[in-house]
């Protein structure tokens, strides 16, 4: 059984691969780039082949009957309506076929769940609506946002090649290394999926689940969030850059340098103009999805910031809501996501943009004080 199964699967793979060479895999799963993805690909082909066979036999019989046994060609109805032997046969045969599917499938299930002995571990956190990556071995951390400009989404600019599948900071991994993923979420359910790598795992707030992959080839692999997570569910892609080991080492060094700059930022004092410029960038990456670029929000769903009591009232309350969020609503606690400098910048920007002409500024030191050095610890980098 198993031998035939594997042989047929291999044959099916060949068949679809030749057809796919021209069609760019549009009729089958994406070209696999890891062992697991390849196993799934073959498993799927094998099952499709079996289904196709059954379909042809059963519906061949049905269509033969539809053509031959019709009243208009003068066929007289037979009167049989029971046959135990036949019933037993067509209960047992499907059962046997199913076992031929279950065995190879079970092997892949066990492979997929085996996350032991990783070469490296990355913690992935889903946020509304971006991904956060923490490289637990290297100490590198960053967020990954959609980088497709709003104009392309709103049809005022030509769409790029990787429309909606491009990010500002891709996840980078070395080729051929066994990467263990620890996946969780900050707010609602998300799901991390890169089809070519064969890794998909729901991101569940309060729980950490794991998955793994070993990328075969250097290249860029793209995926998306696949669990409905609110308004911008369709706008939080995943990009994984698989690079050589040397390139990976260079990338890690570069990220560490950037983290040092970010750390010094948290301790210095900015002038208001500098904060506003920086704050606008932070706002567009983190706040504009809900509160909109013009600060007007969406009535009924997301409140306006322009003219709001919070953004024009005491700065402490404003900092508090950005740091700690508003429980029971979509307003997340950004204390864990943004650095002191970024929070200071975005608060300052919100207090001085649009109709809000408060004129004051928040400094990183104030944010650090508001954190109180306790639970809302600042993230390591960014």
């Amino acid at each position: 059984m198993r031998k035939t199964g594997t042989r047929l699967a291999a044959w099916a793979t060949l068949l679809s691969a030749s057809g796919a060479a021209t069609a760019d895999y549009a009729y089958n799963l994406q070209a696999p780039a890891s062992q697991i993805a390849r196993d799934v690909f073959q498993l799927h082909n094998w099952i499709m082949l079996v289904c196709l066979g059954i379909f042809i036999v059963v519906f061949g019989a049905m269509f033969y009957s539809l053509i031959k046994h019709r009243k208009s060609v003068g066929h007289k109805a037979a009167h049989f309506h029971e046959n135990t032997t036949v019933e037993v046969i067509w209960t047992v045969i499907p059962f046997v076929i199913l076992m031929g599917m279950a065995y190879p499938a079970a092997r892949v299930v066990i492979d997929m769940k085996d996350t032991s002995n990783p070469d490296m571990t990355i913690k992935i956190t889903g946020y509304q609506w971006k991904w956060g990556y923490d490289y637990l071995n290297e100490g590198v951390s960053f967020y990954s946002n959609l980088s497709t400009p709003r104009e392309q989404i709103e049809n005022t600019a030509t769409k790029g090649e990787h429309y909606l599948l491009e990010v500002d900071e891709p996840m980078v991994v070395p080729v051929g290394k066994r990467v263990r993923l620890l996946i969780t979420a900050n707010d609602v359910l998300h799901a991390w999926w890169v089809p070519a790598l064969g890794a998909k795992q729901d991101a569940i707030p309060g729980f950490i689940r794991d998955s793994w992959f070993t990328a075969d080839k250097i290249g860029t692999y793209r995926g998306q969030c696949v669990e409905l997570c609110g308004k911008d569910h369709g706008f939080m892609p995943i990009v994984v850059e698989v690079v050589s080991e040397e390139d990976y080492a260079k990338w890690v060094a570069k990220k560490k340098g950037a983290a040092d700059v970010a750390a010094t930022d948290n301790t210095r004092t900015f002038d208001t103009a500098e904060l506003i410029t920086r704050g606008q960038k932070v706002y567009e990456a983190n706040c504009a999805a809900c509160h909109q670029a013009n600060g007007m929000g969406l009535p009924g769903a997301f409140p306006a910031i322009s003219g709001s009591k919070v953004a024009t009232g005491p700065v402490e309350a404003h900092i508090d809501i950005v740091l700690n969020g508003k429980p029971g609503t979509a307003m997340a606690a950004f204390g864990g996501q943004l650095s002191d400098a970024d929070i200071a910048a975005v608060v300052t920007y919100q207090r001085n943009a649009w109709d809000n002409k408060v004129g004051d500024a928040a400094q990183p030191a104030q944010i650090a004080a508001a954190r109180g050095g306790s639970e809302a610890a600042a993230p390591a980098a960014q």
Binding site: I47, F55, A105, H162, L228, G230, G328
Partner: protein
């Protein structure tokens, strides 16, 4: 009402009440059946319009017609209304009309409760639909209502919970009525194993409803208290578990999936023998297959959640149990084909829809088998492949069986034959349109397009455009259906008592249209 009071004077005329009050207070199973079916038809057009708006937005990449949040409202409401407002009420309509006729009973066991079960349904429908007008819009968290996203929403989320409660209560009352009618009001001699298969499938469906509805009611109540009263059933920060909601929800919703398809099996099993002019092959095995599907439906729920990260042993268990369902389902398909085999077939509209059902439902069954394989499911979970799968099962499965049943029994209900030419137009446009919409979705899912997204990457464009074209063909051809039904009600060729040459069963022994009250004295089944 003086007419009615004098009805006894001239025996021929049985006057009965007219006007809106007749419909509000009627306890007659035929009136209630008709109302269920009309309600389902209206909701079909409402939720169908939402589907067309969804497909129009997805015609090309970029946001054109909707806002992402409104798009989520559309997909959520489309799902909720199609399931709870169209398929379930339509099947209840068939049950109300046909079960008493098929059993030779004068009415349902609890006519007053039957009236309540129907009339709370439009209230729930109105609550759901009106939530579009509330601040923040309608519910947008998906018909599966997963927390914590569902906890974030506005007032319309609470209204939706209320509506789900009302629809659940309606289903409970309807099911208890159907079960007691079937068990207690059979004509003398009509033993369980002589009942028409449609009655059997509804008996099992009602059982599933009664077994699982409290679970849904409890699940949405816990959402409500988590939202408003500070409980933490599904909040990890408070010691709860968001995944547990999915377990509870799918413990209800997988049997629910069969609630949406078992009566379809029943309808098709009535129609195929009629037009093959040959008794149903393997009646007993059909009954056992239906029962096995129902029993298995309680132990497969977690195959909807292979990506939540369960242990390998759990994945294997749910994978194997799910694959097992293919066996009784296969038996059913084989029996239908064997019923056609060596028959003397004609192809009126009900038969065409029934054949399309067997063929296309099987495609949905095969994609279901593909999705049962846990590793493949993990690749395809929450992609358009799943969307294709359940639309093959629910559109070419449940909905086509409803069309088939309407065409089949409409002459009995109205006393007039429907327009066969228009019926055939409706069939061919529906079956072609339906395949154009949903077949390309398999490829979209395989290529990696997630479901529930308002905008997509460029490589998905062509298949989405094809699907949208198909959706409009499919959607607008339903207007033909509406026209056929209205035409048959208003007049047309008189139907005979038997209607179809090959028809068998008690319902074909009463005149067409079935008189307002049938079977005053119980017929005897030999």
């Amino acid at each position: 009402m003086s007419d009615a009071a004098h009805a006894h004077d001239d025996h021929g005329h049985h006057a009965h009440p007219t006007g809106i009050m007749r419909w509000l207070t009627t306890t007659n199973h035929k009136d209630i059946g008709s109302m269920y079916l009309w309600f389902a038809l209206i909701m079909l057009f409402a939720a169908g319009s939402m589907a067309l708006l969804i497909r129009a937005e997805l015609f090309q990449p970029g946001m054109q017609l909707t806002h992402p949040d409104f798009f989520n409202q559309l997909t959520t409401m489309h799902g909720l209304i199609m399931i709870f407002g169209v398929i379930m009420p339509a099947f209840s309509g068939f049950a109300n009309w046909q079960v008493p006729l098929m059993l030779g009973a004068p009415d349902m066991a609890f006519p007053r409760m039957n009236n309540w079960a129907f009339w709370i349904l439009p209230v729930a429908g109105l609550l759901l639909m009106s939530s579009f007008l509330l601040p923040g819009g309608a519910v947008a968290g998906g018909w599966t209502m997963y927390p914590p996203l569902f906890i974030q929403g506005g007032i319309s989320y609470d209204l939706t919970i209320l509506a789900v409660h009302i629809m659940g209560l309606s289903s409970i009352m309807g099911s208890i009525n159907i079960i007691t009618t079937i068990l207690n009001m059979r004509a003398p001699g009509l033993t369980l194993m002589k009942m028409p298969l449609f009655v059997w499938t509804w008996l099992i469906t009602a059982y599933l409803l009664i077994a699982t509805m409290p679970v849904l009611a409890g699940a949405v109540t816990m959402l409500l208290t988590d939202r408003n009263f500070g409980t933490h059933f599904f909040n990890a920060a408070g010691g709860g578990d968001p995944v547990m909601f999915q377990h509870i929800f799918w413990f209800f919703a997988h049997p629910e999936v069969y609630i949406l398809i078992l009566p379809a099996f029943g309808i098709v099993s009535q129609i195929i023998p009629t037009f093959a002019r040959k008794p149903l092959f393997g009646y007993a095995s059909m009954v056992y297959a239906t029962a096995s599907i129902a029993i298995l439906s309680f132990i497969v729920w977690a195959h909807h959640m292979f990506t939540v990260g369960m242990p390998a042993a759990a994945q294997l268990f749910f994978m194997f149990s799910t694959m097992l369902i293919a066996v009784p389902t296969g038996v059913k398909v084989f029996n239908w084909v064997a019923t056609m085999w060596k028959g003397s077939m004609t192809f009126e509209t009900p038969m065409l829809f029934a054949i399309a059902f067997v063929c296309l439902f099987t495609i949905g069954g095969f994609s279901g088998l593909v999705l049962a394989i846990a590793p493949v499911d993990i690749q395809l979970h929450d992609t358009y492949y799943v969307v294709a799968h359940f639309h093959y099962v629910l559109v070419s499965g449940a909905l086509f069986s409803i069309f088939a049943g309407i065409y089949y029994w409409l002459p009995k209900w109205t006393g007039h034959m429907y327009d066969e030419t228009l019926g055939k137009w409706h069939f061919w446009l529906s079956v072609i349109g339906m395949n154009i919409v949903f077949f390309p979705m398999h490829f979209l899912g395989l290529a990696g397009m997630p479901r529930r997204i308002p905008d997509y990457a460029l490589q998905f464009t062509e298949f989405n455009q094809i699907a949208t074209v198909g959706a409009f063909i499919f959607g607008f051809s339903q207007l033909i259906f509406l026209w056929v039904v209205l035409k048959a009600i208003r007049g047309g060729e008189k139907a005979t008592s038997k209607v179809w040459e090959g028809a068998e069963g008690l319902e074909w022994t009463v005149p067409s249209p079935a008189p307002y009250h049938t079977f005053e004295t119980a017929p005897v089944v030999k």
